[in-house]
Symmetry: none
Subunit: 202 residues, 4 copies
DNA sequence: TATGAATGAGCCTTCATTCAT
DNA sequence: GATGAATGAAGGCTCATTCAT
């Protein structure tokens, strides 16, 4: 009689939202932000334009949702990987390893985060900046601890942290855009070595 | 006499084109891409919208022209600085120093190249990628030579070159966007040290 | 038994229909037409949007129903008040008095009829026009009788009837919208006097 | 050479704005507000949708322009007619006569002001209310003066002014909507007589 | 009956580009 | 060359109505 919002229905709704997000991710990974019209996303998701607005209050909210989700995934990934280690230096490596692993596994995510979002409008860029800044902050904390432990020579660790993250970012982007290096996991070894040396790690 | 006139006219045209570019640069450095309408640029340049199209076939061409010009300026700057040195390692440093000096002196240029253009649409990003790739290529060449001279330990210099450039890029962007580090020239010293150590320079 | 059930069901339906109408009246009296969405009315009535269409074939029908109901109430009120009097002139006064009394007592109704509906689309206004025309017709009939009784000087009673109703309408609206006159019942006395004089009632 | 904004061009522009207004008036006089889409107006005016926005910043501005223009016209008409008379009572009559004459001559205007605008959105209704209130205020001023001159018996002239204006309004609307009375100028005589009697003018 | 997710036509508005003057 | 009015496709979003459950 009455319309019971059963588990099944709920799941279906969640699925639809997920399917919109999924389609949007695909579009985002390949087209520019301006190319993402609600109409086109709706079409690819097999729904009417109006239906989109049942799940997202507006276009911006959709991208925000996606970025937030990716950010959460990334931080979660890093946290888990770091937990496996005791030493700060290992934790630092773990952070980068987790990042690279995640991006390597989910290129969609990587492409959106590193390649596409930067070409979005200011609002999203600010969002992305936060993510980047967060990564640098995490790195900085590690560097600070290493410095306190006397494992790093005196240096401007603020700059070092940026350099550290920046070097990884550059390689990841090249890998995503040019497919070079071919094997990102191998490159990771070189990168770690480069940066540890750069830090003057003794 | 007829020839004279042509020269004069040519100069006049060149002047107007320059003035459009100048205005566009100012706008580009301060507004978001979506805010850059041909109408507004034309207005600021003191011409009619239609007139714009006498000098640029379309909006994209304008940005392309600007980026190309900046690119040329950057490469020129690097070339000149490198010429002052004999040793490859010094040339490598000179490249980075030239880049940072130029960006520090012309923040307009830096902001457009590092902050604004990346948030444009695909077409412009491709252009920007080329510049980034060129810088990496230049670096790579230096690393190769240093390797041949036995001054660097065995490593994947392709990756190292990216890491090298990426670390600089990251710091520059932070400087442009956050104003951190406050003194980019000082940061440069740290960066050079970081990267030379990272390369394992003996 | 089966019959009983039907009665009960019918009543239930009628109840729900009534509750929708009640909510709609409240909304109508306070919001602008564009603010009256079926979704919002349904929500306030505690039903689903789809359910609304079980009771009204469309949005227009709802307003029509409300207007009709109000119209009936108004006419009924007038009829009852008129029945109390013998003289035509008293009946005429009674009509206006009944109208004003009803509107004063049920401002909801007055606001919808005089303020809101006029700002709806054509369809509803036509409905409202009918009501206005009916009031004029009633007035006209009285004036005709008064003329036949020789109580009014020769005049175009068609026009007089309109003037009569129009003067009341104007004051009512001001009262509803501006709260001026403060006391509508007092104003009524002035209005009656004005119009009786206007008619040249001897 | 340069594009001279000659008088001719200016006039042409003004003409286009006028032609948009003219079309809009026609549409307004016959369709409901919601039926006025920019697209349809543009089409009827023989221009592209975008062109509309060269002359009006948005849809609302268009209607505002029209209403303001009509209001100005009406007040101007009244002022001119009043100026011809010395006695207040004549000025009062002149006001009404001017209004009726204008509406009779420009039925478009009358229909929009009396029939259509009331069914527009709140913003315009407020505008219209102002016009109505202004007319009442003008009437009130006359009544006050007449009272001071001892030409009117004691009465609530606030109410009388409303009744006065309301009676005219009602007749005008019937004339516009039903075509009844057939001859509005004749009806005017009846109306004036009715209202002067109503005021108790001695 | 009751539900509320789904629909999609249609709205207003913007802006790169064209073209008559 | 220069002008700027004109174009019209395309975008984001709303809401009365439908329909599978």
């Amino acid at each position: 009689m009455a319309y019971q919002k059963t588990e099944k229905v709920k799941k279906k709704i969640e699925n639809k939202k997920e399917s919109i997000i999924k389609v949007a991710k695909e579009v985002l990974a390949n087209e520019s932000y301006s190319a993402i019209s609600i109409k086109s996303i709706a079409k690819k998701a097999g729904i009417a334009t109006g239906t989109f607005y049942l799940y997202f209050s507006n276009k911006e909210k959709l991208v925000e949702t996606i970025v937030d989700e990716m950010y959460a995934k990334l931080l979660d990934s890093i946290k888990k990987e770091r937990a496996k280690h005791e030493q700060v230096i290992d934790k630092l490596q773990a952070s980068m390893e987790a990042t690279i692993r995640l991006f390597a596994k989910e290129q969609h995510l990587a492409k959106i985060l590193l390649v596409q979002i930067p070409s979005f409008n200011h609002a999203f860029n600010r969002k992305l900046d936060e993510i980047e800044k967060e990564l640098i902050k995490l790195t900085l904390a590690d560097l600070k601890e290493l410095t306190d432990q006397g494992m790093l020579p005196k240096q401007d660790i603020q700059i070092s942290a940026m350099a550290f993250v920046g070097s990884f970012r550059q390689v990841m982007i090249s890998w995503l855009r040019e497919g070079e290096p071919k094997n990102i996991e191998e490159a990771y070894q070189t990168l770690i070595q480069y940066n540890l040396r750069g830090l003057g790690k003794s």
